[in-house]
């Protein structure tokens, strides 16, 4: 009965996007603003195409994603264990958690001046900013989801005599996993933001620099084209990677009403 509903949904969304694009194109053609400052979607997609075909876009994307990947792995490798420790050990809860919460209030780009002083104009500086931007969020989300584990499961584990590593990795971690993955997703979007903010500020060869170059050349279509590319990459990773993993996990765990 509802099988064609998603299709209809997509068609509706697509229609809306087309209408908005048409509005944008019309507005730019009205000539209220200079076409150099407010190009329409046609000009922007031409610019996007030219950057895609001469390899500049792919180059910058690979650079940015490579950086992001490295920083993200570090964030996860530190953030998840840190979150587990904060949830399970009184010392970490009492001493480390307040520090983590405090630092989390700091927008990630504020780490850049410090990073530049410590590491100079290097990749390491950007990596540092990205890690600082995402590791704390991941740690807090992990801690949250471990705290939120159904107490019934903990009691049943205790009465079944499940202890030690078997408890940590066989009960606690899987029980908290859906929440942890949500935290990882959040961490990824923090990292993505921090990365672009960092890349904007100096010669980095990534998407951020492509934006800066566009500004320096006063090439508004390029700036907008890169923005579009950033949006598309962001949505793709979120959809393809995280929503698939999250959806599968939640279905298996019986958290979604798939009866």
């Amino acid at each position: 009965m509802k099988r064609d509903a998603p299709l209809k949904n997509y068609a509706q969304k697509l229609g809306l996007v087309v209408v908005l694009l048409g509005l944008w194109e019309g507005l730019s053609r009205l000539g209220i603003w200079s076409p150099y400052l407010f190009p329409g979607p046609v000009t922007v997609s031409k610019s996007l195409w030219s950057m895609a075909s001469d390899g500049r876009l792919l180059d910058a994307t690979l650079r940015s994603l490579g950086r992001l990947g490295r920083a993200y792995v570090v964030s996860v490798a530190i953030g998840v264990p840190l979150g587990l420790l904060m949830a399970r050990l009184a010392f970490f809860r009492n001493a480390v958690k307040p520090v983590v919460m405090g630092l989390q209030a700091l927008p990630s780009i504020c780490w850049l001046p410090l990073a530049l002083l410590w590491f100079g104009l290097t990749d390491t500086s950007i990596l540092f900013v990205v890690v600082m931007g995402s590791v704390l969020g991941i740690a807090i989300a992990t801690e949250d989801s471990v705290q939120g584990v159904d107490p019934q499961l903990l009691r049943v584990a205790s009465t079944l005599g499940v202890r030690g590593l078997r408890f940590q990795f066989g009960v606690l971690l899987p029980a908290a996993l859906p929440g942890i993955v949500t935290g990882l997703k959040l961490g990824w979007s923090f990292a993505w933001r921090a990365l672009l903010a960092g890349e904007l500020l100096f010669v980095s060869g990534g998407l951020g620099q492509l934006l800066t170059v566009g500004r320096e050349l006063m090439d508004v279509p390029q700036v907008m084209a890169v923005m579009v590319a950033i949006i598309i990459i962001g949505i793709t990773v979120d959809r393809v990677l995280f929503q698939t993993v999250e959806g599968r996990l939640r279905r298996r765990w019986g958290l979604e009403g798939a009866m």
């Binding site: 009691r155 009465t159 005599g161 202890r163 078997r166 019986g254």
Partner: protein, 302 residues
């Protein structure tokens, strides 16, 4: 045959006899148990209870009379603020592998299949890997869940979840099974099925079971003994042996008669007008009614 028929017509009072179990014959021995939550609410006061090996004791009483607290104290999940609990003469100080607690929720691990839940529990009890699957399947058959070995908990109905939970509890083979209103959240039909299943399992294994319920019919359907409790403070007011052989039928006339009788007692408990039962040892030491030997319990024909 005639005697069995006659038995049905005997008054419920003769089928329900006060239980007197000496501590030195008991599997579980509770003496002078008291518990206060936050040093305020008196959940239990001066509770004495002896349970023989192989008995199925139902703790029955209105909500808030301390049934769960008593059960959790037996499990070692609650540290009582007074008195002692001993199993086989050994004072307990916490949860142990000899006792297993089952809750009102099935509490299956949602990411593991039915079989996975059981093998995981067996692994925690140190059962070698090679034996786990076979043993799991054996208990899955015993609770009639064949064909659902690879099913995830959220795909099961409430009754099936409870059966899976029961299979997991039985598979780890505790000597004492403690159940806290395990069928309380099931619909009436499923509930009767589960009661019949538990009866048949008990008849086969003669496991010592302490079963908490606030449903009089359930208590008399299952219990070889029914322990009636009263609130404020939580205490035991009657301890009755149920001399009705298993398997029992939910609509059995004698059972219905006993239900009516115990419901009367329960109403008095709620109005707080039930006189304390004569303390068995203090006034008349074993004179009024000699302690029943273990064989006096209704045993199923094998």
């Amino acid at each position: 045959m005639l005697r069995a028929l006659l038995g049905r017509w005997r008054s419920s009072l003769r089928l329900l006899r006060p239980a007197h179990v000496e501590a030195d014959h008991a599997k579980i021995s509770v003496t002078q148990l008291g518990h206060r939550y936050g040093n305020k609410v008196v959940a239990l006061q001066d509770v004495d209870l002896n349970v023989r090996s192989g008995e199925l004791v139902c703790l029955l009483g209105p909500s808030g009379c301390g049934k769960s607290t008593l059960l959790y104290a037996l499990a070692g999940h609650v540290q009582p603020t007074g008195g002692t609990v001993s199993i086989d003469g050994q004072r307990i100080s916490g949860p142990g592998p000899d006792r297993l607690l089952m809750f009102q929720e099935a509490a299956l691990f949602p990411w593991l299949t039915v079989r996975g839940n059981i093998t995981f529990a067996l692994a925690a009890r140190g059962v070698p890997r090679s034996e786990r699957k076979e043993r799991a399947d054996q208990y899955i058959r015993r609770v009639q869940l064949q064909g659902f070995e690879e099913t995830l908990p959220h795909q099961l109905s409430g009754g099936m979840k409870m059966r899976a939970s029961l299979a997991r509890a039985l598979a780890v083979d505790p000597t004492v099974l403690l159940m806290d209103e395990p069928f309380g959240s099931l619909d009436a039909q499923t509930r009767i099925h589960m009661q019949e299943l538990l009866q048949s399992i008990w008849m086969r294994t003669h496991k010592t079971i302490v079963f908490v319920t606030h449903d009089v019919h359930e208590a008399l359907m299952l219990g070889t003994r029914v322990v009636l409790m009263a609130p404020r403070p939580g205490r035991i007011v009657r301890d009755l042996e149920v001399h009705l052989p298993m398997p029992r039928h939910p609509e059995d006339a004698a059972l219905t008669e006993m239900v009516r009788h115990v419901q009367g007692l329960l109403r008095e408990v709620e109005r707080n007008t039930l006189p304390e039962a004569t303390p068995p040892r203090a006034t008349a030491p074993a004179a009024s009614s000699p302690p029943l030997p273990a064989s006096g319990l209704p045993r199923p024909a094998r």
